[in-house]
């Protein structure tokens, strides 16, 4: 009979799961994953205006958007490695009536661990400028806010590897 300590069990679980083994080091009990949910504009506004010590990284994406899906791993990586100082929120612009059919299965299949919210606001022209006046509405788009120093960056493009981290560095300091 082999007895495992709690830590040994955790390590074993991590190794067995294989997929996200790099996250083992930072995985603590306080990082409970929030279930994906559907929000209205006020929900997004709350994230944008959040008074927090943490940097807010907000990515606008959709399950149908190939360039968005391509860059999602960079956001996941930031979420896994820097959750002590950065909140990552993935704002899905899929249609609300497809939340259960498309978004939830996608989150599960990709094992997304960042916070996912579907913004259910079909009247796009009423809120796009409020996210950032320079945004045309094309996705992917990313908004990074540092509530501590007021720095803010909005980018309407697909980010390359390393680019997200450079932006975060820029806004952090």
């Amino acid at each position: 009979m082999i007895h495992f300590t709690v830590m040994q069990k955790q390590i074993l679980l991590c190794v067995l799961s294989g997929l996200f083994f790099w996250s083992c080091a930072g995985n603590t009990a306080d990082q409970v994953q929030e279930a994906p949910k559907v929000i209205k504009w006020d929900g997004l506004e709350a994230v944008i205006n959040k008074k927090s010590e943490k940097l807010q990284v907000i990515n606008f994406w959709a399950t149908w958007c190939a360039p968005c899906i391509k860059e999602l791993p960079y956001f996941e990586e930031v979420n896994e490695s820097s959750s002590d100082k950065i909140d990552v929120t993935l704002i899905s612009l899929d249609f609300a009536d497809e939340f259960e059919k498309r978004v939830l299965p996608f989150v599960e299949k990709r094992n997304l661990r960042s916070r996912v919210m579907l913004l259910d606001e079909i009247d796009y022209n009423s809120w796009i400028d409020k996210v950032d006046p320079s945004w045309s509405g094309a996705i992917p788009a990313t908004l990074i806010i540092n509530p501590s120093n007021g720095k803010r960056k909005f980018l309407e493009k697909e980010l390359n590897e390393g680019e997200l981290n450079s932006l975060i560095e820029e806004i952090l300091n």
């Binding site: 079909i122 796009y124 996705i139």
Partner: protein
């Protein structure tokens, strides 16, 4: 090194920012003419229709889910307004290497399947797309003839409900053309919508 790279990145972002915000035509500007190949092989320009009082230029493609959702509405716009002097010209802006589903043969196929009653032209060099400053699909420019020129009268979305045409409470393009036809100025001349990025060549 970090300092240098952050300067480089800032410079890059600055340039990127200028391109996104300042490039392209604005409402009130004179429309830029083009000469682009339709799916039937003929070249189309703003001079192609001598009777046109204006045009509904739609930057759209085969592959973007939003473009697909708006296909029937674009056909309906043409059917409603071509007779009034405002025909649709659909311009496909995406690079076929980046988006193979938007290649010229695939455009021909889609136009045939849907029976597009309007020209569906390919902006192979992407110069027209860049000149107009189109950023996403579908992206509409309503043009209105004033004197000898076509002026840009409206830029933006077709309506305010991509999911459900009948639930739209604003039909921006129709509102714009109805105003122009009545000799009025366009009330809402600029709107934004969620859409797919233009797939630019490298």
């Amino acid at each position: 090194m970090n300092y240098v790279s952050s300067i480089l990145i800032s410079a890059f972002l600055l340039i990127g920012g200028f391109t996104a915000e300042d490039a392209g035509v604005k409402v009130g500007d004179t429309a830029i003419d083009f000469n682009l190949k339709n799916v039937d092989g003929k070249m189309i320009s703003l001079k192609s229709d001598a009777n046109a009082k204006g045009y509904i230029l739609v930057f759209t493609c085969n592959t973007c889910p939003y473009s697909k959702m708006y296909e029937d509405r674009i056909i309906a716009l043409h059917k409603k307004y071509a007779g009034q002097g405002y025909p649709v010209v659909a311009i496909q802006p995406n690079n076929a290497d980046k988006s193979p589903g938007d290649s010229y043969p695939n455009m021909q196929k889609r136009a045939k399947e849907k029976g597009f009653p309007f020209p569906y032209v390919l902006d192979e060099t992407q110069e027209t797309t860049e000149a107009y400053g189109a950023t996403n699909t579908p992206h509409v420019y309503v043009l209105n003839k004033e004197g000898g020129d076509f002026k840009v009268a409206y830029i933006g979305a077709i309506d305010n409900n991509s999911r459900n045409a009948s639930a739209a409470t604003r039909r921006y393009v129709e509102e714009a053309i109805d105003a122009l036809s009545a000799g009025n100025s366009v009330g809402t001349s600029d709107t934004k919508a969620i859409g797919c990025t233009i797939k630019w060549a490298n």
